[in-house]
């Protein structure tokens, strides 16, 4: 009896391990393909990070003379802009999610007949070039004294982000069966309590990812802010651009660019650690993860 099972088991395992020639070829092609894609995506990031550590834009091989001189040389104006950008991004991300989530709830649960129309209208800012949005906002902001100010930049970013926040919110709420809310209400919860105790905890993972995306978008916003920003409200993207135009690619600018990469990675890591790996790979919108 034991003899037989062993004899039967051995070829089964063998056949699974053995890989035929064509399969090996296709696996090899896949690997090359993935490596090329990976290199293509990672190359600029790696280049900036290595260059920042070597203190010059031309990366030299072997990787010698790694130092932090370029980081030490970052002028205080850069740091001001850097922290300004971080503050603006956090405030704008929170505001746009706070605004877009209730709107998404109304659109998904309210069964508005105009929903399709509204849903498409909300997409418009994403389609219209930021250039146009920038000019339009500027004509409003100048008489209101909002251009070249913290508030103005925040408002511009919110305008930019609402569509994305709404998209995320709609997808998250669509994925959450309404029965949970109805059950909570039948058990005595007000709409607000149902939202706080049931809806928000259940969509929290998706919401964190949405926040990450919106934050990143704010961190690197450029075209729109080019119109709104000014000497007293300069995001780091604008500061770097103007400096590079004036003085060429100086080591400090490369170091500051690398700082933005670190910020993005840190935020990504925080979200990933908070949610666990299963949410980060592919299952972006799924409530089950």
């Amino acid at each position: 009896m034991t003899d037989m099972t062993v004899r039967m088991a051995v070829p089964a395992i063998g056949s699974r391990v053995r890989i035929s020639g064509p399969r090996l070829l296709s696996a090899g092609l896949w690997t090359v393909y993935l490596l090329v894609i990976g290199a293509w995506l990672l190359f600029p990031i790696l280049l900036v990070v290595v260059a920042s550590l070597q203190g010059k834009l031309e990366v030299s091989w072997p990787l010698s003379h790694l130092n932090l001189d370029a980081y030490r040389a970052i002028p205080s104006g850069y740091w001001q802009s850097f922290w300004f950008t971080i503050r603006v991004s956090i405030v704008a991300s929170c505001c746009s999610l706070l605004i877009s989530l209730p709107a998404a709830w109304a659109m998904v649960r309210g069964r508005l007949w105009e929903r399709r129309l509204i849903s498409s209208l909300v997409l418009l800012p994403e389609i219209v070039p930021q250039l146009i949005l920038g000019i339009a906002l500027l004509t409003i902001f100048i008489p209101l004294g909002l251009s070249n100010s913290f508030g103005g930049v925040v408002l511009a970013l919110i305008a930019l982000n609402l569509a994305m926040g709404l998209r995320f919110g709609e997808a998250l709420l669509e994925g959450l069966p309404e029965e949970y809310e109805l059950a909570a209400e039948s058990l005595g919860a007000s709409k607000l309590a149902a939202l706080r105790l049931i809806v928000l905890p259940l969509i929290a993972p998706g919401l964190a990812i949405a926040a990450l995306f919106v934050f990143m978008q704010n961190l690197i916003a450029f075209v729109l802010l080019f119109f709104i920003a000014g000497p007293s409200a300069t995001p780091i993207s604008i500061r770097l651009f103007t400096d590079i135009v004036d003085r060429g690619v100086v080591p400090e600018a490369v170091a500051m660019s690398a700082m933005l990469v670190y910020v993005a990675l840190i935020f990504y890591a925080i979200v990933a650690l908070a949610l666990g790996p299963k949410y980060m790979a592919g299952a972006l919108m799924s409530r089950k993860g």
Binding site: E179, L182, E185, S186, L187, L202
Partner: protein, 383 residues
């Protein structure tokens, strides 16, 4: 002490008066009135689209009605939002909160009512033992089987002493074997809690097994309200006779009413004696359906048959079912009939055999006049 008072069942009589709900031109529910006694288990039974789920949503406050009044005891609730009605609702898919433990799920209604933590814990334990899930309170719903999840949903709905518990097809997600078990469980829990309950289902067996009374619905109106026994034995309408249980319906007309009613079947010379007669049949020659349940249609090989309304028929097909055998027969005047008899009576029959039919019980329900003309012409053709 306080807790004892709170944990007593809050069961109330429920009264619905002239409830209506329209979607465009379509009446989902039309002038529905119903009284449910405190502690009673009433089932809304009907095919999909009959208005039973709409009625349940209206009672729960999830859907506003167009007209009518709802009272729990003396309290009028039809203007209240769902969270102020004090109704325990069990959803078809249970809708247990996946991010909360079983304990937290059951305690949710108590938490919303501001019960102190210690009282909540005690009440949750009480309910866990009522639904026999002791020791599983710390689990998440996803770690429970379908039957266990269902019992948590019931416990959650009972926890806060609701005036009324509503069950929306809670058994339809369970497999057949578990369903048999759980419906008796559910009935048992309801009785022990003495909880006024309205149950919605399209499954007539569930309705018959579980209910004190069944409300049979069709096209947004009530066809009949009766005990399971009466609904099965003496249905009031053709729809009731067809929907609940299997039935042979033979078109006919009334010969005589009174204590010993009898009817003439289309295509038969001899009158058929009826045991019971639905209300609304009084005048002679009134069109009606002669209803004979499969188990009321006895038979014997033709040489042995003798007494009461002996009819000759031919066996077409037989299906063995364990405790009984389904026998499809063809009678020349009436057409096809189905019988369900114990194996010892019909086991020796074979398809093609001639049998004498013995009608062991028969009930009459009214037949609508629109198709009575068609039958009249058929009768003329037959003659």
């Amino acid at each position: 002490m306080n807790m004892m008072a709170r944990s007593a069942s809050g069961s109330q009589p429920v009264s619905l008066e002239q409830i209506s709900k329209r979607f465009g031109d379509f009446y989902a529910v039309r002038d529905l009135s119903l009284d449910v006694a405190a502690g009673e288990f009433v089932t809304l039974l009907g095919p999909s689209g009959c208005g039973k789920s709409t009625t349940l949503k209206i009672i729960a406050g999830l859907l506003p009605q167009d007209g009518g009044e709802i009272r729990f005891g003396a309290r009028r609730v039809d203007m209240l939002p769902s969270n102020k009605r004090n109704v325990g609702l069990v959803f078809q898919n249970y809708a247990l909160f996946p991010h909360m433990t079983v304990n937290d799920n059951i305690a949710f209604g108590l938490r919303m009512r501001g019960w102190p933590r210690a009282d909540r814990a005690a009440r949750v334990n009480e309910l866990l033992s009522l639904v026999r899930l002791e020791g599983l309170g710390e689990r998440k719903p996803s770690q429970l089987s379908g039957g266990q999840q269902q019992r948590v949903a019931v416990a959650r709905a009972l926890a806060f002493g609701p005036d009324l518990v509503l069950l929306d097809e809670p058994l339809s997600n369970l497999d057949a074997k578990l369903r048999d078990e759980v419906r008796l469980d559910l009935r048992d829990i309801q009785r022990r809690a003495r909880q006024t309950t309205i149950f919605v289902t399209h499954d007539q067996v569930e309705a018959l097994v579980m209910s004190d009374r069944i409300v049979l619905m069709n096209h947004g109106i009530i066809e009949q309200v009766a005990s399971p026994r009466d609904l099965y034995a003496i249905p009031a309408t053709e729809f009731a006779a067809r929907f609940v249980g299997a039935n042979n319906l033979i078109p006919g007309t009334l010969i005589s009413g009174g204590p010993t009613p009898s009817a003439a079947a289309v295509g038969l010379d001899a009158p058929i004696a009826a045991d019971t007669i639905a209300p609304g049949i009084a005048t002679q020659d009134q069109p009606l359906w002669i209803c004979i349940r499969p188990e009321q249609l006895g038979m014997a090989k033709v040489e042995q048959s003798s007494d009461r309304c002996s009819l000759v028929a031919r066996v077409i097909d037989m299906v063995f079912q364990g405790t009984s055998i389904l026998v499809d027969i063809e009678q020349q005047g009436i057409g096809r009939l189905r019988s369900e008899r114990p194996p010892e009576e019909v086991g020796s029959l074979r398809p093609g055999d001639e049998v004498g039919l013995k009608i062991l019980g028969c009930h009459l329900v009214p037949r609508k006049t629109s198709d009575s003309q068609a039958d009249a012409s058929r009768m003329a053709n037959a003659a």
